[in-house]
Symmetry: C2
Subunit: 244 residues, 2 copies
C-alpha cells in the first residue's frame, strides 16, 4: 500500500462544499468518481477539512491509499482529464503510510477577497465580495490584529457542528492585497464552523463604524455569537494554504 498526498484546487461556485452529502454535488463526490475511474476501484481518501458551499480552494489536501505508486505526470494528466474543469489536481506526492491529511495539518491560511464598486463585475463576482462603501482598511487591519493569539472563538462561530473545544490559536490576521484586491488573510491552527466568514462580517462592521476597532475583546468576553458581525457570503472565501 502506498499513501499519497494530493493537492487540489477548486472553484467552489457550483459545489455544495467539499463533503459528500445527499442534497447536492460536492467536490469530494467528483474526486471520488474521477479516482474510481482512474484506479478501477472505489478509492480510499481523506480530505484535510471541510469547506462550505461556494467556498473556493487554492490548496486543499487529501491523502489517498493506492495499491501501487503511479508516475506523477501520468496520474495528474489522467485524473485532470476526468475531473470537471473547475477542479484540478495540482500535485501528487508519496508520503509516509501514517501521514494523515487532516490530523497532521498544523494550520491553515484563508483569504477573503473584496472588491469596491457600485456596480457588479462579471469576472470578479464569483471570486470576491462586492462592497459599495469604500473599506476602511486601516481600521479592519487594526481589528484583525486583535484576533491574533489563543482565544475561545465560540462567539465567532455558527452552531450546527458539534465541537466541544472552541479554543483556537490565530497566528496571523491582517489585511493584504490579493491579486490587486483588498483581502483579509487569517492563519490559525484550526477553524470553527463559519469562523472566517463571521470574522470577515465583523471586520466589515468595524469598517463602516457599526462596531469599534477594539470590539473583539468584548465579543470574546461575552461569548455570544450575536455580538459579532454577520456571516459574510461564501463566494469571497478561499482556503489558501494548508500547513504540515
Amino acid at each position: 500500500m502506498k499513501r499519497v498526498l494530493l493537492t487540489i484546487a477548486y472553484d467552489g461556485t457550483n459545489y455544495h462544499g467539499w463533503q459528500v452529502q445527499p442534497n447536492g454535488i460536492t467536490v469530494q463526490e467528483c474526486m471520488q468518481n474521477a479516482l474510481e475511474k482512474l484506479l478501477g476501484q472505489k478509492p480510499s481518501f481523506t480530505g484535510c477539512s471541510r469547506t462550505d458551499a461556494g467556498v473556493h480552494a487554492r490548496q486543499f489536501c487529501c491523502h489517498l491509499d493506492c495499491d501501487e505508486a503511479f508516475p506523477e505526470n501520468a496520474f495528474l494528466k489522467g485524473l485532470n482529464s476526468i475531473l470537471p474543469c473547475d477542479i484540478a489536481v495540482k500535485e501528487y506526492r508519496e508520503v509516509a503510510s501514517d501521514f494523515h491529511a487532516r490530523y497532521d495539518a498544523k494550520g491553515k491560511n484563508y483569504v477573503y477577497r473584496f472588491f469596491e464598486s457600485q456596480i457588479t463585475d462579471p469576472f470578479l463576482s464569483r471570486y470576491a465580495l462586492r462592497v459599495e462603501r469604500k473599506l476602511d482598511i486601516e481600521k479592519m487591519d487594526a481589528f484583525c490584529k486583535t484576533l491574533v493569539g489563543t482565544h475561545d472563538f465560540l462567539p465567532f462561530s455558527s452552531s450546527g457542528r458539534s465541537v466541544t473545544d472552541t479554543v483556537r490559536t490565530v497566528t496571523e490576521c491582517s489585511m493584504i492585497t490579493d491579486d490587486g484586491l483588498p483581502a483579509l488573510s487569517i492563519s490559525a491552527n484550526g477553524f470553527l464552523y463559519n469562523m472566517v466568514r463571521i470574522i470577515v462580517g465583523t471586520a466589515l462592521f468595524v469598517s463602516n463604524g457599526a462596531l469599534p476597532v477594539e470590539c473583539a475583546k468584548d465579543i470574546f468576553e461575552s461569548a455570544k455569537r450575536e455580538n459579532a458581525g454577520d456571516t459574510a457570503p461564501a463566494h469571497g472565501l478561499f482556503l489558501n494554504k494548508v500547513f504540515y
Copy 2:
C-alpha cells in the same frame, strides 16, 4: 424618445453568444428580459456586434430607445439587480438620436489570453487557453505585426456568415501581457466570422514551428482558409474595447 448607449460586460461561459437564437440562452435574451422588467415594455435595442458562444466581453455596447431618460445610477442599479451575475451593465449614457451602436463603431479591440501550464487551473480555465508548450512570444509577436494593414482576411475567416466584402484594416496586432498572462491583442475596423480565433490558431502554429513567422503573406495570397491555423477555442477570447 431618448437614445442611450449601454456599456455592458459579460462572462460568456454560460451563453450561446450575444444574439438571440432558438437553441440556447444568449446575452441578448437576458438583456431583453431584464430591460422588459425594468421598462415595463418590450425594449428596442441594438448591439455593436455579435460574439460567439463562450466568448467574453469586457466592453460590449448597445443602444437602447426609451420613452424618457433615467437617472444613471437608478438605471444601473435596477438593471444590474435583475441581470444574472455574469452580465453587468457598467455605463449608461445619453447619445444623439441617430447614434447607432453597430454602424457608428469605428473599430474594436479583442484580447486572446493564454496560460502556460501542464496542469489545468480552475480559476483560469474559463478565461484563458491553456497551452502545455511554452509560447514563443517573440515569433508570435513578429507574426502579429505582419497582419497590420489592409488585407483581404477571407483565409482567416470561417464560412457560415454571408459577407461579401472580406477586406479589413488591422490597426494594431501584438503580443501583450494581460493581467499577468500572455495575450494576443488585435484592433481592426471590423472582424470577419471567427477571424480572431483563426489568427490566434495561426499564431500558435507559428509559435510551435508548424508555420513560419512570415506565413501571412502566403496565406493572404492563397486566399484559402486551410492554409491558416486551426480556430482557437472561444473561452480565451475577450471583446475588450469598442471604438466610436
